[in-house]
Symmetry: C2
Subunit: 350 residues, 2 copies
DNA sequence: TTGTATGCGTTATCAT
DNA sequence: ATGATAACGCATACAA
């Protein structure tokens, strides 16, 4: 490994000068700068991150703690975080798939001194204890954990989104609206369920316990959810799933049972993953800009790291909006005429 | 931040002893060990990673370089890498969403001295130049880049998978089999296309240029691909898409055109993402264990880091297998009777 | 404008 | 079994 001393010797200057060149200090003569830069390039020098961190107290690294997350959500939130961090010269130390407090704890501990701040997503609250042990001055942004105690936090407008989707179903004439909720003790899940219940109340529909079942946010549980719903004495005319994966599982189950969506049963999901519009029938959903969630969280964290003057904890909620397609029976357009059928970024297609 | 000196002072020992306790050296008395451990716990001490790295030359961190990757693939490969790394006490420094050489280069440079080894996924070869500049002794594992020059590499059995799927379609009687390929200059895409062409040759079907179109691995491009295919003079009776997302887009387009899958046109994909079995009709696909790809890559890398005796570069190929569902017209079972309908891990469902 | 000296927190070497 | 000390590579206060 080529160090700062190697460059210094080769360029005939002191290590301090090389350091100055590298850090764009203006306390260095133009032709010295050029010579040093040339030598550094020739030798393929780049500074040792550990030494730099030790000296400057900064790591230019953001820690990201994620729960056991599958699919689209994970990749999109990471994309948002990564792009924002990189744009501002920060690295990402990622730790995902934490199934319990123990693991979250260990992960947090081992990140000490390796990151300047943390983005923590822990919808089931497993990381709460570990977070509490962190110094209050250490920058942390909470994702989808509800309003954190004394910490910056970001959430999706779960309640509003669920409430307006269920309201929409009710306005279409549905009264027996079922919900396939997410896991218990999950913040997103709880809020979406609350939105569902309140929406029913607002239109004067008595909530029926048999019309509320729980899944785990994955396709299979949506599939099974339908069996349990149809086994009950009241048959739903509409099903609202707490996310798109479960909604897709539900549609699959309905299809296998010979029921037509939306004629026999209307279906709606949450998240609006890219696949939603390509289902048949296309899936109505509550649109969430997931990458933006990661982006905003990172911006807030990096600002906190830069300012270091601890301001009051801020809570931000990301707005959602309904995307009505065929599965809920409200609109008759297929994917071809979906106004949102736009590539999200430049593709590689000819 | 509490340092090793704080603990030493508080416990009435030298810093060296604290270090020994922390690193499980047996050169320390039992009651000293206990006392130091207690103080460390009380003070909430954990060693500064930067200082440790500087001294030991090791970072216990693996760098992960990923291209601009969407959806299931990204999250699964990361999961595999993360779990394996964590089990062996390693962190993950992730840099994703690189769209060109420039960015990949910058990311690689900035990881210098911060990681002990690298897992690089660069199916379009954008990172090749940067990799070549790395010291030959620096541990690197290539993912889906083909057989790397002088580097360990892992790939999916793209060619075999595509070939056997197309062979299967031919055995079902199809002759006009179209392909919606992936982007050009992408290793996975190239190999899957090659498998398609060879399979056709083997059954004595002359390849028709009009039956080969390109997409970008996303749903929208599969949708558009169908328009272009059906605009040609030869109408395909089967469509093989280079991945499931494009296959789903294709099915959506066929549905919008009033064509039935599989009666009018058979469809098959690649990857077998969890959603595939919940499509209607359920999607036939080439199954790939993506998480395992990440897992194997990490094992190989960590072994290389541990051994440090550079052995010959190894190339490993991950087997695939066909999962035949309804979309290709071979089997008549819905998702309910799909033998593979098993939860991939414990869910949170009641 | 440049060089010298010091210390960041830790571990390894040597001494005791 | 434990302590003192040096060194890892870099950035900075201070000297020149």
């Amino acid at each position: 490994m080529v160090t700062i001393k190697d460059v210094a010797r080769e360029a005939g200057v002191s290590a301090a000068t090389v350091s100055r060149v590298w850090n764009d200090s203006d306390l260095v003569g133009p032709e010295t700068r050029e010579r040093v830069a040339a030598v550094a390039a020739r030798l393929g020098y780049s500074p040792n991150g550990a030494a730099r961190s030790l000296r400057t107290k900064g790591t230019r690294t953001v820690g990201v703690l994620l729960p056991d997350l599958h699919g689209e959500f994970f990749s999109e939130v990471t994309r948002g975080i990564d792009q924002t961090a990189r744009r501002r010269g920060f690295h990402l130390l990622v730790s995902s798939s934490h199934s319990d407090q123990q693991e979250a704890n260990a992960a947090l501990r081992s990140m000490r001194g390796r990151v300047d701040g943390l983005i923590i997503m822990s919808p089931d609250g497993d990381a709460q204890r570990a977070i509490a042990r962190l110094p209050a001055t250490f920058p942390v942004v909470l994702l989808n954990c509800g309003v954190g105690v004394g910490r910056d936090s970001l959430t999706i407008a779960n309640y509003d989104g669920a409430r307006s989707m269920v309201g929409h179903l009710a306005r279409l004439g549905h009264r027996r609206i079922a919900m396939i909720a997410g896991p218990e003790r999950n913040h997103d899940s709880d809020e979406r369920l609350r939105g569902y219940r309140d929406a029913l109340q607002e239109v004067g529909v008595e909530p029926v316990p048999e019309l509320q079942v729980r899944g785990d946010f994955r396709e299979g549980s949506g599939y099974e959810g339908v069996s349990r719903l149809l086994a009950g004495r009241v048959c739903p005319t509409a099903i609202f799933a707490a996310n798109d994966c479960m909604a897709i599982g539900a549609m699959s189950a309905l299809g296998d049972l010979g029921l037509d969506v939306p004629t026999d049963v209307a279906v709606a999901g949450f998240d609006d993953i890219p696949l939603a519009r390509f289902m048949s029938p296309s899936l109505s959903s509550v649109h969430v800009n997931i990458a933006q969630l990661g982006e905003r969280a990172t911006q807030r964290l990096l600002d906190a790291i830069a300012n270091e003057s601890a301001s009051d904890p801020l809570h931000e909620e990301l707005k959602t909006h309904l995307v009505l397609r065929r599965s809920c029976g409200a609109q008759g357009t297929g994917a071809a005429r979906d106004p949102e059928l736009q590539p999200r970024s430049q593709g590689n297609a000819p």
